[in-house]
Symmetry: C2
Subunit: 384 residues, 2 copies
C-alpha cells in the first residue's frame, strides 16, 4: 500500500499537499522536530504536539543502542514507549554511521562499525535497517544509505551513490509492516548529473517518497540549491520529498522554493539549549547582558509557551500564566544554569520553525510564496 | 497586621489549620517545594501549582546575587518575574551564610561573607535581610538567624541562639510591606533548655509564626524529635510552626506528630534529578537494571504527571497521554541523559510529598493521625 500523498497546490516550484499516515495527516511543507532518543530534549510529547508538530523524527541508530529493539518492542513500540501517538519518521542510520562511528567498514552486503556507546561491533544491512525501523513502529522508514564524506572526492561520492541504489533494492525487499511507508534516499553530493542519475534510478522503484541526503554538510549554499533544483526536475512530482537535516529558517524557505515538502533539524532545540533564540529579525543570544533587565518577551507576536503562556494554556496544553516570560527571567535562568531556560527557548525555537513552515504553506496556497520568502529573508538577514 | 492563622483541629499534638496570605490560603500541614533561584528546577510554575503546591520557598541569599534586588524589583518582583502568583516564603540567608559562604565574620550588627558566585564581599544585617525580602515581594519573610555549625560546641550554639534573639528585635523594626508576614527563627541546637528559652523569648515578640532552624543537620533523629517536643510545648499554639529543611517522607510525619505546620525541602527534586523516586514502599532508583523492561508506572495509584498523565491532563494542566510513563522509558531517559527523566521524577517526588502532607492533614482532621503515621512509616521502612 503506497503512502498517500496528495499534492494540492503549486506556486512556481513550491508545493503544498497532505501526506497521510495511519496515525494522522501531515500538511506540507512541514518541519519535523527531532526526538533522537525518543523525545525532543526536555519537551513532553503532548507539549510538542500542541506546539504544532505533526510528524516527528527518531533515529534508528540511537534507538538500537538504547533502549534497544527488543526493549522497545516489549514496551509496545516507540509510540507507546515515548508517548507520541502522531506519525514518526525514523532515520536509517546511514548518516550516523558516517558521522558518529569508529572503524566503519562498508560493503554491498552490510556496514560494520563500532558503537560509540560501548565500542562493540555493530552490523547494519539494508534489510535489517528497514526491518528494525518497522519493528520499532515507524510510520515512515528511511532506506539505508551510504553517506560519504562530502570532501572525499568524486570517486567515493559516486561509489556511495551507486551503493545506495543497490541497497535501495534490498530495502524494498525487507520485511516491513504494511502501514510502514518507505522512502528512498538520494545521494550524489553536489554533482548535478550524478544527482539526476540517482533520482531517476530511485524514481523507478516502489518508494513512497524520497529523502535528499548528503546536503547541508558544509558545501556552498549555491551548490545545495542547485542540487535541489536538479532533483525537483527529476523526482516524481506526485511523491513527497524530504530534505534531511535542514532547518535553519532561511534555508527552509530555500528548500520550499525548490519543491521540498519535509524538513527535519536538531537546530531549534540545540540553539535553544545554548541560549539562542529565533526572532523575525534574526537569531539572538539570551545570555547577552542587554537582556538582563529586559521585561519584554522573546519577541512580540510569538505564540509559543514562553512568549504567550496565556494563549498557551488553551492552545498548547501548558500552564496558564498572565504574562510572558521576560527576556530578563530567561537570561537569569541561563545565568544560574536553571533548565527551564533551555526548555523554554527550545519550545520557542521549535514553535518558530513549525510556524514558519505553516506560514510557507499558507503562502504557497495563496500563490504568494515568492513575496513571503523575500520579505521573511530580508528582515531576518537584516537583523543578524 | 498579623498573618491570620486559624488552628482548626488537633489530634494529640498534631495540628491542622489554615494560614492566610494576600495571595491565597495554605492548608496545613503543608509541604513547600523549593524554588531556590526562582523556580523549582525544571518545573514550570503552572505545573507546580497543579501538582498541588500552595506556598513555595525561594532563597534571599541566591536571589540577591542573581537576578539581584534591583532587577527583580524592575521586573515587578519575584511573583511577576517567575510566574508564580501564589504565596512565596523567602528564607533570610542565615543558613546559606553558614553552609555556602567563605570568610564569614559575624557581629551583633551584621554578617559579612564572600559571595560564592564572584568572591566579592557581602553584608547582611537583620534589617537589610527583612527589607530585601519585602522588596522582592515575599508573602512570608524569615528573620535573619545566626545558624551555627551543629558540631561547634555548646558555647557557639548558645552565642548563635542569643544573637538570633537580638537580631530578631532588629528584624521586627525593619521596613516591610504590611502584607509581608515575618517569622522568627528558633535556634539552640539539641539543648532542650536552650530551645525552650529561645522559644519563650521569641514568643513574646510580634512574629507571625516561627521557623525551627538548626535541626536535621546530622544530629541523632531522637534529638531532633526531642527538640520539636520541647518547642511544641513552648511556642504559642495559635501561631504556625515551620520546620526548616525537612522533607524526608517519614521525617515529615514525625514533625506533624510534634505540632509542626510547615515544611520545606529540596529533597524530592534533588532525589528525582539523581534518579531516585518515592513509593509507599520506600525509595527506589530508576537506573537499576531491573527497570529496563518494566512496563509499569513508578507506582500504581500515584496521580502525578508521570504515573497518571491522563488524569494529569485535567487536574494538572499537563499534556494528555493515554498511558503512564513506564519505568522502562524513565530508565531509558536516565541512561541516555535525557532531561525529561529528572523532570518527570522531580514532579513525581514533589507530588508524593505534597500528597503525603495532604494525607496527613486529612488524618489529623479525622482524628486518626497516629494510625496513619504508623501505617505509612511501617510500609515505607519495610520496603527500604
Amino acid at each position: 500500500m503506497p503512502l498517500p500523498f496528495r499534492l494540492e497546490v503549486s506556486d512556481g516550484t513550491a508545493r503544498s499537499g497532505v501526506l497521510s499516515t495511519a496515525r494522522g495527516d501531515i500538511e506540507t511543507p512541514a518541519f519535523m522536530p527531532v526526538a533522537t532518543r525518543g523525545v525532543v530534549k526536555g519537551i513532553l510529547p503532548g507539549a510538542l504536539k500542541r506546539l504544532g508538530a505533526s510528524m516527528i523524527l527518531m533515529n534508528l541508530y540511537h534507538l538500537l543502542e538504547r533502549p534497544g529493539l527488543e526493549t522497545a518492542e516489549r514496551l509496545g513500540g516507540i509510540h507507546a514507549m515515548f508517548g507520541w501517538d502522531g506519525p514518526i519518521l525514523t532515520d536509517s542510520g546511514g548518516y550516523q554511521v558516517w558521522s558518529l562511528s569508529e572503524s566503519v567498514s562498508i560493503s554491498d552486503e552490510a556496514v560494520k562499525f563500532r558503537s560509540p556507546y560501548d565500542g562493540s561491533e555493530r552490523t547494519l544491512t539494508p534489510e535489517s535497517a528497514v526491518e528494525s525501523q518497522s519493528r520499532l513502529g515507524a510510520d515512515v522508514a528511511m532506506a539505508l544509505d551510504d553517506c560519504p564524506d562530502p570532501k572525499a572526492g568524486a570517486d567515493r561520492i559516486r561509489e556511495a551513490a551507486d551503493r545506495t541504489i543497490r541497497w535501495a533494492k534490498h530495502c524494498l525487499e525487507a520485511a516491513r509492516r504494511p502501514d510502514c511507508a518507505l522512502f528512498g534516499i538520494v545521494q550524489g553530493g553536489t554533482d548535478l548529473a550524478l544527482r539526476r542519475e540517482q533520482a531517476s534510478a530511485l524514481s523507478a522503484m516502489a518508494f513512497d517518497g524520497f529523502g535528499i541526503g548528503g546536503l547541508s554538510l558544509g558545501e556552498e549554499k549555491s551548490s545545495t540549491w542547485a542540487a535541489l533544483e536538479a532533483l525537483d526536475a527529476t523526482l516524481p512530482r506526485e511523491k513527497p520529498r524530504y530534505l534531511m537535516g535542514v532547518g535553519e529558517p532561511t534555508d527552509l524557505l530555500e528548500g520550499v522554493e525548490r519543491g521540498v515538502d519535509l524538513f527535519d533539524c536538531v537546530l531549534p532545540a540545540r540553539v535553544g539549549r545554548n541560549g539562542g533564540f529565533f526572532t523575525p529579525d534574526g537569531r539572538r543570544q539570551i545570555r547577552n547582558a542587554a537582556f538582563r533587565d529586559d521585561a519584554s518577551p522573546l519577541f512580540g507576536g510569538c505564540d509559543c509557551p514562553a512568549c504567550a503562556p496565556e494563549s498557551g494554556s488553551a492552545d498548547l496544553g501548558l500552564p496558564a500564566r498572565k504574562t510572558p516570560w521576560s527576556r530578563a527571567a530567561l537570561h537569569h535562568f541561563f545565568r544560574v544554569g536553571e533548565m527551564l531556560g533551555p526548555i523554554l527557548l527550545s519550545m520557542h525555537n521549535i514553535r518558530f520553525l513549525l510556524r514558519l513552515a505553516a506560514s510557507a504553506r499558507e503562502a504557497v496556497r495563496a500563490a504568494r510564496f515568492a513575496a513571503f520568502k523575500a520579505e521573511f529573508t530580508a528582515r531576518y538577514r537584516a537583523g543578524e
